[in-house]
């Protein structure tokens, strides 16, 4: 980095008190930056840029240096995912022929994560679910052979894509069940209003081979689950509005739903709730669950957390409670945790501040002001 060389040169000059140095600065060579090897402390931040919603973007941010590393354009109301091998970021989005108006084109764009260069696109039927970011708007099969896109027209279905040969293979109706929860090489589950999971199994051509409904595991009237599932070792955990945790094992041919447990003691029930846009994060190896919690009631399920509560996934016991107000941060509407042995916890506030914590101790390391405009979703590299 030449800038550091020149800084050193200047400091040397200041030290000697010379008015004019013997050697002038050399001409600089213009370059395009390359990314360093990826770090577990990087994070992809989906910034919906809600006040300029056609101009969403994914920001790559380093939780150690607190520097922006780069950006991927993301159009209008995008879904974002990474390929299983981490080499490709896929964005499903909508573009209008004339910026903020005109004919709609839906497209999946592929960007090489090593260079942040666009590599390919697949044009879709204009059906992609224009909904807030989650893991389930767009998802790869575990072998990277299929890419699934959630559709809402408002009828619900999903598209099956071949990302290697850049083709749309087909569309599968989900009978009113929402989003794409990918598992294995050929399974897609969706969340149903009936409180069940619909699981469609595909054949080798990406066509429907079979479908099955799970048992009812939540009640959409009394205590709906957030669609923002959180990756676990074997599947996803779904939190409910009232603080139940439904862990679902997606590693077998059909999802296995574990008995729910509660984030709340009997005394806390009815007072504290989870909420926000990305409602929890899990460190899979440590078995720790991080949840922004707030005092609220009916209708507060998108309110951010005034505290972050930390749970042990094995014992279901709360092991820490980190109030954010004393740190002059928050409420926290989105959280993510890195998956390494010295993990950092990222949290976003409604005012677009992003905090970086030591995920083991809760110590606040840094607050980045204005990390985009509406940072609603974090993804690990």
């Amino acid at each position: 980095m030449r800038s550091y060389q020149s800084r050193a040169a200047w400091l040397a000059l200041l030290a000697c008190g010379c008015a004019t140095a013997a050697e002038p600065l050399q001409p600089e060579q213009f370059t395009v930056e390359t990314l360093p090897p990826r770090s577990p402390h990087w994070v992809y931040i989906v910034d919906d840029a809600f006040s300029n919603e056609i101009d969403a973007r994914v920001r790559l941010f380093d939780g150690d240096s607190y520097r922006h590393l780069g950006q991927i354009d993301a159009g209008f109301s995008p879904g974002v995912t990474l390929s299983p091998d981490g080499t490709t970021a896929a964005v499903v989005t909508t573009y209008f022929a004339r910026g903020g108006h005109g004919a709609r084109t839906d497209v999946v764009e592929f960007t090489a994560t090593a260079t942040l260069e666009l590599s390919a696109e697949i044009v879709l039927p204009p059906k992609h679910a224009q909904a807030p970011p989650s893991y389930f708007n767009l998802a790869y099969s575990s072998d990277g052979r299929f890419l699934y896109v959630a559709y809402i027209t408002p009828a619900m279905s999903f598209g099956v894509l071949d990302p290697v040969n850049r083709k749309v293979l087909g569309e599968i109706d989900t009978a009113g069940c929402a989003l794409v929860i990918a598992s294995g090489g050929n399974r897609v589950s969706s969340l149903c209003d009936s409180g069940r999971l619909l699981t469609v199994t595909l054949d080798d051509q990406g066509l429907e081979a079979s479908r099955a409904l799970s048992d009812v595991f939540f009640d959409a009237d009394r205590d709906p689950v957030f669609v923002q599932g959180v990756p676990t070792d074997t599947g996803y955990a779904f939190l409910s509005f009232l603080g139940q945790v439904h862990e679902v094992d997606f590693s077998g041919p059909q999802p296995v739903i574990h008995p729910p447990w509660s984030l709340l003691s009997p005394a806390e029930q009815g007072h504290w709730r989870p909420g926000g846009a990305q409602v929890a994060a899990i460190h899979r190896r440590l078995g720790r669950l991080y949840v922004p919690m707030h005092r609220g009631g009916e209708g507060s399920h998108k309110a951010g957390g005034t505290e972050i509560w930390v749970f042990d996934l094995g014992t279901h016991r709360r092991i820490a409670r980190w109030p954010l107000k004393p740190l002059r941060f928050g409420p926290a509407i989105a959280v993510q945790v890195s998956q390494d042995a010295a993990p950092v916890l990222f949290a976003a506030a409604e005012n677009a501040e992003v905090a970086v914590f030591d995920a083991l101790t809760g110590r606040l390391r840094h607050v980045e002001k204005h990390l985009g405009e509406t940072p609603w979703f974090f993804m690990n590299p």
């Binding site: 809600f50 006040s51 300029n52 919603e53 056609i54 209008f76 109301s77 909508t94 209008f96 910026g99 903020g100 108006h101 005109g102 709609r104 204009p126 679910a129 224009q130 909904a131 807030p132 809402i152 027209t153 408002p154 009828a155 619900m156 009978a175 009113g176 069940c177 929402a178 989003l179 969706s190 969340l191 149903c192 209003d193 959409a220 009237d221 709906p224 689950v225 957030f226 669609v227 909420g275 707030h294 609220g296 009631g297 009916e298 209708g299 507060s300 399920h301 998108k302 309110a303 409604e350």
Partner: protein
């Protein structure tokens, strides 16, 4: 109107898959009675959620423009996020964008599909069924962002969800702002 017809057909078909025909037609009739220019409502199970409302907007977020949360008369001010009819709105208030609480700004188009809320009107103590429609075809207004979620449900109950772009099926489908239209009294 061809597009509306097609939409209606599509909505009807997809709804038939997941709700009773009676529920849908019942609501449709109710809405037709109340409104000449009727938003099409891909709604099921509205009868379930007509519970008593909590008047205070828990977790309401407000930003920009004329929105003044905490203002005394805010609950009766259509330019405020705390206006009673906005109990499940999410987006920019059309009243701050050249429209009103129930009219779209000039040059935009109403979304024929919509989500539904039930709001308590403290003035008469009644609960009203409210249709939240998006106004479409211009880029984001950006004024008076307002996010309230009373009885709002996740995406899998789409007719009660305010997260999705309800302009999705318009020919010009960008989202500009949101209105709230009284459909009638909520069933008690």
């Amino acid at each position: 109107m061809h597009r509306l017809d097609r939409l209606f057909e599509k909505s009807s078909r997809s709804l038939a898959q997941r709700t009773s025909r009676r529920g849908f037609l019942g609501l449709l009739g109710q809405a037709l009675t109340g409104s000449l220019l009727l938003p099409l409502l891909p709604i099921d199970r509205v009868h379930r959620t007509a519970a008593a409302a909590t008047p205070q907007p828990a977790g309401a977020a407000a930003a920009g423009g004329a929105t003044k949360p905490g203002h005394g008369a805010a609950i009766d001010d259509p330019h405020s996020c705390e206006y009673w009819k906005y109990c499940a709105i999410d987006g920019f208030l059309c009243s701050c964008c050249g429209g009103s609480s129930h009219s779209c700004p000039p040059g935009t188009a109403m979304s024929p599909i919509t989500w539904i809320g039930t709001c308590h009107h403290p003035g008469d103590g009644r609960d009203y069924l409210v249709s939240y429609n998006d106004c479409c075809g211009k880029t984001s207004c950006g004024n008076c962002e307002c996010n309230r979620n009373e009885r709002e449900k996740p995406l899998y109950r789409l007719s009660r969800n305010n997260d999705v772009n309800w302009c999705m099926a318009n020919s010009d489908s960008n989202y500009h702002c949101s209105v709230s239209v009284i459909l009638g009294l909520a069933e008690q």
